[in-house]
Amino acid sequence: MTGVARPTVVVDGVSKWFAGVVAVSDVSLVIEPGVTALLGPNGAGKTTLLRAIGGLTAPSQGTVTVFGENVRRNPGLYRRIGYMPEHESVYDFLTGREFVELAARLQGLDDRDRAVRRAIEIVDLDADQDRRLKTYSRGMRQRTRLAATLVHEPELLVLDEPLSGTDPAQRLHLRDVVRGLAAEGRTILVSSHILEEVDELADRIHLMVSGKLAASGDYRAIRQKLDDRPFVVRVDCVDPRRLAAGLVGIEAVESVEITGTVGLRVRSRDVASLQRSLPVVARELGVRLTRVEPLDDSLESVFEYLATGTGA
């Protein structure tokens, strides 16, 4: 490892499709030392892209190079790569220690005992290492899989949803582990579908939506884009036409759509202001509100907005 930032992973125009379904579409990005997060909703293509980077799947189009080499049909490169898949399957009949030991053996490590001990210590599994994996909780399995992934001290760590299934305390611990490994100069690529999860973890974020790269930047840049997006709020009331006429006069309101005899869809970029103004306008007009509900607060709609500029 060197202190000089250089691309560890280069993804160039990668697409992947399965039987006519496009999972990843023309994605190009560069991953450098430090922690990079691949963020996106479920089904965005994150795992497929990570699998292409890890050499588990061949891109339908484009190229992936890791440390300047093609990772497919190049098993020797796995001495420098640690890859933790998304799914939680493990060899249930092994103990936690045996699982990490297996990874060390398969890596051909000379000082296996030391490496295994160190990896187990890092993920804080010392006390439970001799129990069979089938008795482990989901979080413990995650930590064991992480230990097996980093037992050979790889320069590149690819972690697919590493915080999934962990409790808050474990999450904090794993975050510290990842940050610590990054501080040693390693390249760490993590995927997540939760923006807040990668806060304080990743130096850079690549946002994927519908198989495409929607945005790239640090946490603040992505957060800013989220805050700037318009919200759509459903408002049910006894006289929607009268209320709509009143709402269009409010600066915070971008548009109002009457959706039926009792409903409105109000689009605004300043939700706080809308929250304050809506009851005031309704009271002034003598309109009784029966329901106020954000329509597009789901993560998917947020990602959709960032990808296409249009929300729900």
Binding site: G55, P75, Y78, Y83, P85, S89, V90, L106
Partner: protein, 238 residues
Amino acid sequence: MTAVFVLTARQLAGSRRLWLVLGLVSLPVLAAVVFRVGDSTTTSDRFADNVTRTLIASAILPLVMLLFATSAFGNELVDRTLGYLALKPIARWRIVVSKLAAAFVVGGVPIALSGFVTVAVVDGDGMKGAAATGLGLLAGAAAYAALFTWAGLVTRHALLLGLVYVFVWEATLAAYLDGIRFLSIRRYTLSLIHTLDGARLATLDNPLSAAGALVGTAVVLAAFTALTVRKLTRMDVP
């Protein structure tokens, strides 16, 4: 390589399958013991040949190898643990050879021992026939292991494919089409036993020559091992 072998052997032997297999391989031995203590009119040679031919080589050997060899990769494809091997700096051929060897040892060795003990119990005059049976079954187990390990990697319906091969191709079609003996692991196995001890399976119709049976076994072993390596190298690992 040893790590993959040990892991696979533990996977295969650690399940209920092992008990089923132990039960199956005990059957011929049990039959042999009953024959010895009983008052049968059948000659010992004929009984040993019948058990070897109809029970061990035609049913137990292919079924046990089908069960173990299709699981060598099949289990890891189903539970998605194959990535733990594929993401390591190990040549693909080493993974394949280790898994094949594990299926052969866990499945083939008990069957060969069963055949050896069965013939030794029935025909107590010498060990030649028993040794020939054991060695022939070992060769057959290796060929079946290669074929079914490949099947377990290329299709989710490997068990069905294997059953069709064993009971339709080798058993039914072979009765009508004599040429199938050149493409039948069962015939290679029986012919090898006959070659190693001419007194065994003397009633076998058109046995293959020693060279034919050996070459057939070697070709199946090499070809399906190579196909498995090729598949593992090119496939998307789940």
